[in-house]
Symmetry: D2
Subunit: 373 residues, 4 copies
C-alpha cells in the first residue's frame, strides 16, 4: 500500500509516508579506526541492479549500504550483458541517476560506474568515476577502455581468477599489460563475492595496482551473506568523505581489503589499524619470577585479531595463540620465568596476526608492550 | 560475475552456475499442523515487484517464499500505479510470467494476480486467479471488477483501514456492498504489512467474507520483518497444494490469519491447530491432596500459545497464566486442594488462548485433560 | 578432568591448565559514557552463592561479572537463611574470601557484604563494606544493624515491595524511620531481579536515600536473564574504580539504576549520559520552507533512547516519536514549515526520553540542537 | 529474595514461589529420531558439582539437563579430589541425593555415579549405577573398581587421551587390560568436554567397549559451550526411559556419540538415523536427457548431514557435495546425461556422510533413491 504518488489521485502526504517508512530504519556503524590522519571509509565498488542482471531496484543498493554502515558504493551494471533489456527501456546512466537522490539524503557517496563485460582476455573490467556511461558501449573493448580513461575513470580488473573465464589457472594476459602500460588499468579485485585470488594480490604488489574487495552483489544483499555486514569491503583511507577524496586515495594506493575477518593491505595501514584497535586495560603488572599475572586486552574494533607468537619473550612466558574477538576484552596469562623480569619496565610480547596479510603469504608482525614497573 | 548467458559470448556452463547459486540455499519449514484432513498451506497473496512500485525482480519473491517456508504466493502488481513505467516496457502479465519457471522448480504455487488501485471507495482490491491481467486495465473500476469476475478471479479488499485512504475511521462503503451483492467481493484483509483492522474482522463474520493476512511487501522481505518468517500469513486449509485446491478452499472460507504470534480464525480451525500442536509428556500424575506434581507440555508448532485460566479446576489448583513457547516443553505446577483429587482419572484445566482469536474480541477457549489415575 | 591440584598426586601444570581455561574467555564491555569527570561503574550489589541459598560457588559470581562487563560486585549471602548449612561448614566471611583472589586477577572490585534477613519489618537489608560479617549474626536485628554501622557499612533496604513480605501494599514502617534516623539506612533497592518498586523511588527522593538496582541472583546468571548483560545494574559515578571511591560515591548519592532499557536517576546524571551518548552525523542541514532534510543521529551507547516530542519546533516539523537503538544510527526527517527556517542557525527539537526517569512519573526532557546554517 | 523456607519465619507460600520460579522455564527438545524400536535417549554421564571440584549446586545439573533437552544424566563427583572439602561436610552420596527429587519432578533420569580419580595408570574411571558411593573410597584403586563391580556398576575410562596424564601419546596400559579381563571396564569416552580421542574409538571396536561422549562439566554449562545444546552427548538406544532400560542398552553396546555436529557409532544405528531424518519433498522428477530437475530434501533432525559423492550416478549427474542443515529443506540439482534416464523408475545417488563416522577413519555410506517415473 506504499508510495502512491500519482498526482490527482493520491495526496502529497503519501510521499512523506513512503519515505519515512524507508528511512525509519537504523544503520549499524562498522567500527574500524581512522588512521594516519585519514578517515577509514568502508566501500563496495561493484554491484548490480535490475538495469543489468541484478535483481533489485537501484535505491535498494543505497538502503543496504546505509544499513550496513558503508560510506561509499559504486553501482556497476554490465554494459554488454543486460538480460532484462526486453522489459526495460533505459540507458546505462539510469541506475545511478535513480539511486543518487536517496544516496544524497542518506549521506552515502554514490560513484557512477559500469562493468565492461568481455570474454577473457581482458575479461570484466569496472570503470568507476565515469561521467557518461553510455559512451563506453563500443564494439571494441579497447575503445571502451580508452573512453573510460578520457572520462577520468578509475579502471580495475574484476574477479581475475573467475573459473568460468579461467578454468585451469589464473593468468595475466598481454591485454592486461597493454592496459597497464597505457595507464588505464589501475586496480584489481583480490576478493570478489566469496572468492580470494592470491595471484591477484601478488600482481598488485609487483605492478603497483590498487587492491579492491567487492561484493559483486546481484540479489538482495541479505540473501548472500549470512550475517549483516559480512560482505567484502574495500577500505579506503581518504582525507575526506567526498568523491574527490576517494579518487585521490585510490590513485595514491591507499586501500585495504576486508573479507571473512581477514584484512589485507600494506603494513603502513595494517599496523596502525591494529594499534588503534587494541587497548591494554590493566595497570602495571609487577610481574615476578614464578609469578602469574593477567593482562587484559580490549579490542575496540569489529575486526577480530588472531595472534601467534613469533618469538619467545625475555623473562616471562605468554600464550602461543591469542584470539582477540571484536568488541571484547580478553585476559591473557603471563608467567615470570627469570628474576630479571621484576626489573623490566616493559614486558615485550612478539606475535604475528595471522588474519592480517601484508603480501601473498606474509602476515603482519605485531608487538605488544606491557607496562610492568 | 553471475549468470552470463548471452549465446556466442558466454558458455552454457554459466547458466548452471547461476542457478546452482540461487538454489544452493535452504528453506526453513514453518511448523503448523495439518488439520481435519486438510493441508495447512502457508500463503501470502499480496506483494509487489519492480513491475509496479516494488523494488525487486519477480524471481526474488519466489526465492523469499521458498526460503521462508511458504507454499503459495500471488504477485499482485498495481494496475494503475506503475511509477517505474518510464524505465520499463512490459504488460501486466509480465511479473507472473517471469517468476513462474522458478516457482515451478522450487514447488511454490504461484497465482496470477493484480491490484486494482483506486481512491476510496472502493480503495484497493486484489484480484487473484486472473487469466489475463491486461484486460483489467479499465477507466471504470467497476468494469475492472466485472472483468475479474468473468475471468474467475477471487477478489478481496486490501488494507481496509489504511489511514491514507480512511484517516478518520474505518468505514464500509456502499461501493463495497455493491461488490458484495454482485458476487465479486469474496474476501478482506484483516491484516496488512504491520496493521490489524478489527472492523474488517467483524465485517468478515457478518458478511461471510474470507479473511486474509498478507505482507504487501515492496522491498526485499528481509528489510521489513525483523526475524525471518515473521511476515503475516494467510493459512489456507486445502485438500491439496494445487491452484484449484487453494481456490476451492478460499471459496469455502477455509482460512486463518497469522501475524505477530496471533492467530485469527474460526473455532473449527483453531481448536484442532491447538490440539495437534501440544503434547502432554508426563505420565499419570497421581496427584494427591496437598501434593504438588508437574505436568510437562510440549508445543510442537511454531506458534506460541498464551493461556489464561477461565475457570478454576476442581480438586486442584493450576497457574493463572501459562505460556507455551514454540518448539519447547514447559513444566506446569499442579497442587491438590481436596481429597477427591486422588480419585479423579482425569484432571481438567480450563483456559482461553489469548493469542487465538475467533471473533472480534473473542478468544478461543481451550481445555487440557491431564491423565491422573 | 579439570583443576586437579592435590600435591603429590597432580603436577603443578594442572593449576595453570585450570586457570587458563577459566580465563580464556572474553568480556563484553558495557558502553555507557563516563560523565562529569566521574567514571560510570557498572555494579551489582546483591547476589548469593552456595554459602547461603544460592546455587553457585563464589568464583562463578566473579566470572559472570567479568564476562558481562561489570566493574563491581558485592556477594551478600544471607546471615539467617542458610539452607545448605547441614552440608557446609563455613562462616559468613567465607564466600567473599574464596572469590577475592579471582576478583583481583580479573580487575573486578569485590565488596564484602551480607544480607540481614528478617521478617517485615524491617525485612531484608544488605550491609556492604562490612569488615567481619560474622559479627552481624545477632538475635536482635537492631543490634546487627548497629554492628554494621560500627564497621562502616553502607546499609540498604532490599526489594521493599516484595509480595511475600508485603502482599497487600508497599509500606514504609516505623522500623525504617528508626534506621534512617540512626544514620544506618542509606539506600534502597528500587529494582530487584525483575521487579520495579515505584514507591521506593519516591521514598528515596523524599528521604534522600541512594537508589540501587540489583540482580539478587541465586542461579547461574545465564539462567535468569534472556540475553547476556540484561541483569539490572546500579550505575555508580565514581572518581575511580576503588572500594573507597565507590563508597564515597554512594555516600554522595551518585547512582542511577538501569534495568530493561530503563534508566532511573537524577537529572544531573541522566542529561549528560544522554548528551554524551548521541552524536549528530549530518552537516548543516540548510533546511528551507517546504523542504525535507534528513538528520542522522548515532547512539554510541548500549542504552536505547525512546523520545517523544514534548512541544513543537519553530519553523519546521519533526517526528512525534524517535527511537535511537543502541550502537545504531537513525535518519530523522525534518520538514520546513515557514520561510524563517532558512535563516535559523540552529534547529531546536524538544523531546522527553520516556525511558529516562528522573522521579516517580517524571521523564527526562531532552533537547536536540541541529546545526542548520 | 528467593526460597525462604525456614519454618516459623517464612510461610509455606514461599516454597511454592521458589519452585515455580525454577520451573517456569522451558525445555528445548533435541530432534533425533527414535530408531529400530528403541527410544533415542540423550545422555551425559559425566559432570561435577560443588561436592567435588565443580562450581554449581547439584540441582543446577538437573535444571541444565532439562532445559537442554537431555533425558538422562549421571553426576560423577570425584572420590579422591574434593578441593572444597574444608568448607563442605558431606559424603559421596550427597550430590545425587540432593538432585534426585528435582530430577523426579522434571522427568530426568538421574544415575548415581562417582569418578575414581587416580594417576595414570589407570587414570580416571567413572562408575555409574553404583548403590553406595562411599564404599568406593579405597586406598587401592583396584579395590575401588572391584567394589564398583560388586555394586553392579557400569565402569568406563574417562578422557583416555588427556594430555595431563599422557602428554606424549595415548596409550593403553596393562592396568586397563586387567580391568577389561576382570569384566570391570565396559566403556570408554571417545569424546570429553572438547577433545576427541581417535585411539579410544579404535580400542572400543577392538575390545568391544561401549563408546561414550560426555561434557565433564564443572562450571555452569552455559559458560562452556557457545550455543545451548552444544555439549557432547552419549545417545543411548533404549527400550524405555528407565534406569534399567539404560543399563541394559549400555551392556548391549547400543550407544552413539554426538559432538560438534559429528555422530560416531555403528552402522546399524547411523544408517537408520540418517534415513529417518531425511524426507524427499518432491514428486516424481521425470528427468529427461539434457534436462535439469530439482530434488527437495528436508532434514527433520537437529544433526546436519554433510554428503560427498562416492561414485557417479547412472544416467544423470548430481552435486559432488551436499549439505543438509538441521530442520531445513535443500534443493538439489539433477541433470540428465543419457537417454535411458527417462525410463528409470528410480534415480540412485551414492554419497558418504562425512560427519557420520562408523570406525576410525570410516564414513557412513548413504544412498538416496529418488522416485523418477
Amino acid at each position: 500500500m506504499k508510495m502512491l504518488r500519482r498526482k490527482g489521485i493520491f495526496s502529497i502526504l503519501l510521499v512523506l509516508f513512503g519515505l519515512t517508512s524507508i528511512l525509519a530504519q537504523s544503520r549499524q556503524e562498522i567500527r574500524i579506526p581512522d588512521i594516519l590522519g585519514y578517515r577509514t571509509l568502508k566501500c563496495d565498488f561493484h554491484m548490480h541492479t535490475v538495469f543489468s542482471d541484478g535483481e533489485v531496484w537501484p535505491t535498494i543498493r543505497v538502503q543496504e549500504a546505509w544499513r550496513e554502515g558503508l560510506d561509499v558504493i559504486a553501482i556497476t551494471d554490465h554494459i554488454e550483458y543486460r538480460p532484462h533489456s526486453s522489459d526495460m527501456d533505459a540507458d546505462l546512466n539510469r541506475s545511478y541517476d535513480i539511486a543518487k537522490p536517496l544516496a544524497d539524503q542518506l549521506g552515502i557517496v554514490l560513484i557512477r560506474g559500469v562493468e565492461i563485460t568481455r570474454n577473457m582476455p581482458p575479461g570484466h573490467l569496472n570503470a568507476i568515476f565515469v561521467k557518461n556511461a553510455n559512451l563506453l558501449e563500443r564494439e571494441d573493448w579497447w575503445e571502451a577502455c580508452v573512453e573510460a580513461k578520457e572520462q577520468g575513470a578509475f579502471v580495475f580488473w574484476n574477479h581475475p581468477g573467475w573459473k568460468v573465464q579461467q578454468p585451469e589457472e589464473t593468468v595475466w594476459w598481454p591485454e592486461h599489460t597493454r592496459l597497464l602500460n597505457a595507464g588505464i588499468l589501475k586496480g584489481i579485485e583480490i576478493y570478489n563475492h566469496r572468492e580470494f585470488y592470491p595471484e591477484a594480490l601478488q600482481w598488485a604488489q609487483e605492478k603497483n595496482l590498487v587492491i579492491l574487495g567487492n561484493s559483486d552483489i546481484h540479489e538482495p544483499i541479505s540473501q548472500e551473506y549470512d550475517a549483516p555486514q559480512k560482505r567484502p569491503l574495500t577500505l579506503v583511507f581518504s582525507l575526506d568523505k567526498t568523491e574527490n577524496g576517494i579518487k585521490s586515495a585510490l590513485l595514491d594506493n591507499r586501500t585495504a581489503v576486508l573479507f571473512n575477518d581477514t584484512l589485507i593491505g600494506e603494513r603502513r595501514f595494517l599496523t596502525p589499524i591494529f594499534i588503534s584497535s587494541i587497548q591494554l586495560k590493566s595497570k602495571k603488572l609487577n610481574l615476578q619470577n614464578q609469578d602469574i599475572k593477567y593482562l587484559q586486552v580490549y579490542n575496540n574494533s569489529d575486526i577480530p585479531f588472531k595472534l601467534e607468537q613469533r618469538q619467545p619473550s625475555v623473562g616471562f612466558s605468554c600464550p602461543k595463540v591469542i584470539v582477540l574477538p571484536p568488541n571484547r576484552t580478553v585476559s591473557i596469562e603471563l608467567t615470570g620465568t627469570s628474576d630479571e623480569v621484576a626489573q623490566m619496565p616493559v614486558l615485550k610480547m612478539f606475535y604475528e596476526a595471522t588474519n592480517l596479510i601484508t603480501k601473498r603469504g606474509e602476515k603482519l608482525p605485531v608487538n605488544i608492550d606491557v607496562p610492568n614497573k
